[in-house]
Symmetry: C2
Subunit: 276 residues, 2 copies
């Protein structure tokens, strides 16, 4: 059976006869078609991490891509409707050591996502991690957290919340949790781009109750190579906290470690929330 994630990121050439590369040559935008997948549905439209994976897959599968994802910023401009979408990717600038892309997802209503990505080759340099690894029990010593909301996308992941649940008010928005994929699959940059969005909104951790909230901009900095990701175990250690809630938005700073303690990604969001 096809993994739900592989089904999600299976992109197609446009079906209406348009050329997939519209720049009239090796340069310029390329359009591929993605499709929402029922296994990745959220309350309204798809899980943001699923759309992020489709956007990034539009670049990683482009024959012009060089290096591996180093940074990704996506803006959720409007709800994604169920069905097909155009993923339009453009390698705006290719340098010796990196490559700058723009990405856009369009549906009948217009642009639903805008964004940019940086690809780079890995180079041997000074290496050190400064952000402290949270002290937590091993994944299998933490109970699986039961789902409090019946959202299809959540069934793709197994959550083991160590601290900072969405069902109890707290003075801190910090959550620390182990997350693995329900169907095992080696980690790669595209699946990590999806997994960096697994955090429920920080306002839930503060108030202890769900309320309307949605990511408006989403950034992932990838710290490591495809080989290092593929060698990771199934469990990711995920920590997120807000810096400030104000005027209907809060930021979220997240870090995602592999099972062996390697820092894989730094991820940030700005999230809209309804007044509480």
């Amino acid at each position: 059976m096809t993994h739900t994630f592989d089904a999600l990121i299976a992109l197609e050439e446009p079906t209406d006869g348009r050329p997939s590369t519209t720049g009239g040559g090796p340069d310029g935008p390329r359009t591929v078609t993605a499709r929402t997948h029922p296994a990745w549905a959220n309350m309204v439209g798809p899980y943001g991490g699923a759309t992020a994976a489709q956007a990034l897959a539009g670049i990683t599968t482009d024959p012009r891509a060089q290096g591996r994802p180093a940074a990704l910023t996506l803006n959720f401009a409007a709800p994604v409707a169920d069905g097909t979408m155009d993923v339009i990717v453009d390698p705006v600038r290719t340098n010796r050591s990196n490559q700058h892309w723009t990405v856009r997802i369009a549906q009948e209503s217009g642009a639903v996502l805008t964004g940019t990505a940086l690809f780079a080759g890995g180079r041997e340099t000074f290496s050190d991690t400064e952000v402290p690894l949270p002290e937590v029990p091993a994944p299998f010593d933490v109970d699986v957290t039961p789902y409090t909301m019946a959202l299809p996308w959540m069934e793709n992941y197994v959550f083991r919340i160590v601290s900072g649940v969405p069902t109890a008010a707290s003075e801190s928005s910090e959550t620390v949790m182990w997350v693995s994929q329900t169907q095992s699959r080696p980690w790669d940059h595209v699946s990590l781009a999806a997994a960096c969005d697994v955090f429920f909104p920080r306002i839930f951790a503060r108030t202890g109750a769900p309320s309307p909230a949605g990511t408006v901009t989403y950034t992932v900095y990838f710290h490591t190579s495809p080989e290092a990701l593929a060698a990771q175990g199934e469990n990711l250690l995920c920590r997120a906290v807000a810096s400030r809630f104000n005027e209907g938005h809060f930021d979220q700073i997240g870090h995602v470690w592999g099972e062996d303690g390697e820092l894989l990604a730094t991820t940030t969001q700005l999230v809209y929330f309804k007044g509480v």
Copy 2:
């Protein structure tokens, strides 16, 4: 005398007779011309924060802009050459509560900057700051840090480094400093977008010596309103730290507070560095 920052962000209509709005109507991209300013020069090309301010000013001065900057992500795709540049801004999606923009800066060599911005209106909601305010002396109890590098842009700011200097090796990359403008000017979102880039590269704080490094992607989340910014004192409290150095890049997480302790911005970067 015109403030160097106002001179920097003075945009002009394109001089070659092209219409400034090219979308054939109220929608679509608009091009304005910006110019590098000698007071904002860095070692090669302009200070990144100066280019960021020009990009954001292209949006804030667009008559179609609604609300205030909430998030900005810019990618430095290639060196900015001294002279003029096209700043191309496009309000891709305007919703009830926010507006999504793309921005690009182009010179003869092609695109030198890509990016996106989110504008939003302020709404009264739950408000709280979680990130702890660093315990530091008042600005005027900290000695002004002498410039160790003769870079023109640095003369626009007065630096008072509390901890984490670029001239001594350390096991932590953290820097905490007070920063003010040399020529006093009320803070606004555009000048804050420039100031969020005042941190020297975190690798300097680790090694205690300058080495080739450059921001490749830059994000600012703005936490507050134009009125709250304008009411701030001259000194910003700035704190930055890296999470991980690896494979030629490191991330930087920064927070910028006003003189009264209000958190004004969360800012992140991914920075290229040469092997050490």
